[in-house]
Amino acid sequence: MQVFFAILIAAPVAVGLTCFICAGMLKKSNDFGDSQGTVYDFSRGIDMYAEEKSRRPFSRM
């Protein structure tokens, strides 16, 4: 029973972790160039205003 539970818990973690690691290795090995697309430097000028509430509406709407 103990062993059965141990396998039940260990199997998905082992498969999941291996899949994640191998996928990372595969991406690094076979996919060159990032897929992030356009890089835009927002530090040059985005002027952001932020407000958070548990209810609507907001003062600037």
């Binding site: 539970f5 076979n30 897929s35 000028g45």
Partner: protein, 428 residues
Amino acid sequence: MTETCPNCAAPLLFNPSNGMLDCKMCGSSFKPEEIKGAEELNQAKADEYKLIGLDETENTESIESENLKTEAELQGEKIYGDPDSEENFYDSSVYICNQCGAEIAVNTTEASTACIYCGCPNIVFDRVSRMRKPTYIIPFKVTKEEAEEKVRSIVKKGFFIPKEIKNFSTDCVRGIYIPYWLTDLNMDLSMEVKGRVGSGKSSHTEYFYRAGKCDFHKLTNDASVTLADMSSAKLEPYDFEDLANFDKNYLAGFYSDIADVEKVDGERLAVDKARELMQEQFMNSIKASNKQIITQDMKRTVNNVESAMLPAWFVTFSYKGTPHTILVNGQTGKVSGAVPWNKGLFIGIFAAICAVFFVAFTLITELWVPAMFGSKSSDSGKLVAMIIAGGIALLIAGIRKITKVMSAIKLTQSQSMFGYVKKRQGDL
């Protein structure tokens, strides 16, 4: 058409390593701006005739047609320039690929042997075409040999790359100028987002308001339908420090793709891109789950839309009968593309790592299970559920990553690009 050497009349080709036009026949080198082509000389003569009044009729006609332009057209010209002006064109040879339908301008005397997009040898020289001059150009800085070497060195490092690909023999390496629209615009975006914050019983819906302004300077959008948008996006970023006014001498020895995305569409794509980039910034600033945009308000002003040609190398090789095309940024040398993997090796490594993890986790869990069953707390059950859920989440994340690599490989293979082109043309 290519310029010829003033000393021996052989064709001049642009050399990316020194930024000069080189003559392979007599070894002379010239700065692109030093070479004044026959076209410019003819234009100068025509201007001379106009000055002495020999071309008065043409002048009168142009003034009359100018008066007939509507206010909207004149407003458009402020942004777009006069589209019909003779100064906005140059001559180039154009070929059409019989397989994928790509139209490529060849700015060299060298005859092309294969299509740069699909590798198909069935290309037909179609015509000498009047091409619209772009405003700017970034000249090639990376040479053909350097581009090929960069691809080779990056392919050799890949752990899962098959030996046949590591020692690939190049089918062709082509330098191509890709047309882009560069847009200057101001965007004012505000949006209201709802999302869940907290966990368990304290989880609740929170509303977020984000507003911001941003001035986008030279936002890029590729103006080629033939080249997949994902491929051109992967080639970026380009460094606009090297942006020069267009000079057709920079094209000597290279291909140039024909811009088939209209300026108006380029402007629309730039607005969409700017909005998406700002949205992404706003969403990243919100710490919540299940985020949903409720309302959105956008104001934008497009200040300028200009065309540019940006350089890229297309390195094509065959693997198992399928052509693969790796792209190299012709200015920065950034390599983009994906190649098939050695499936046997991948499965072997996967099985080995998985076996090690499985044995280790089983031993750890076996020691921990008695303690878990011994305690009557419900926290142990929750912990087990969380560990299993974590494993499944990692599995899903891994599968997604592998799927992305597979789509990138498909993009590198010509058949997908061919299908993409056909789809965009409405043939499928």
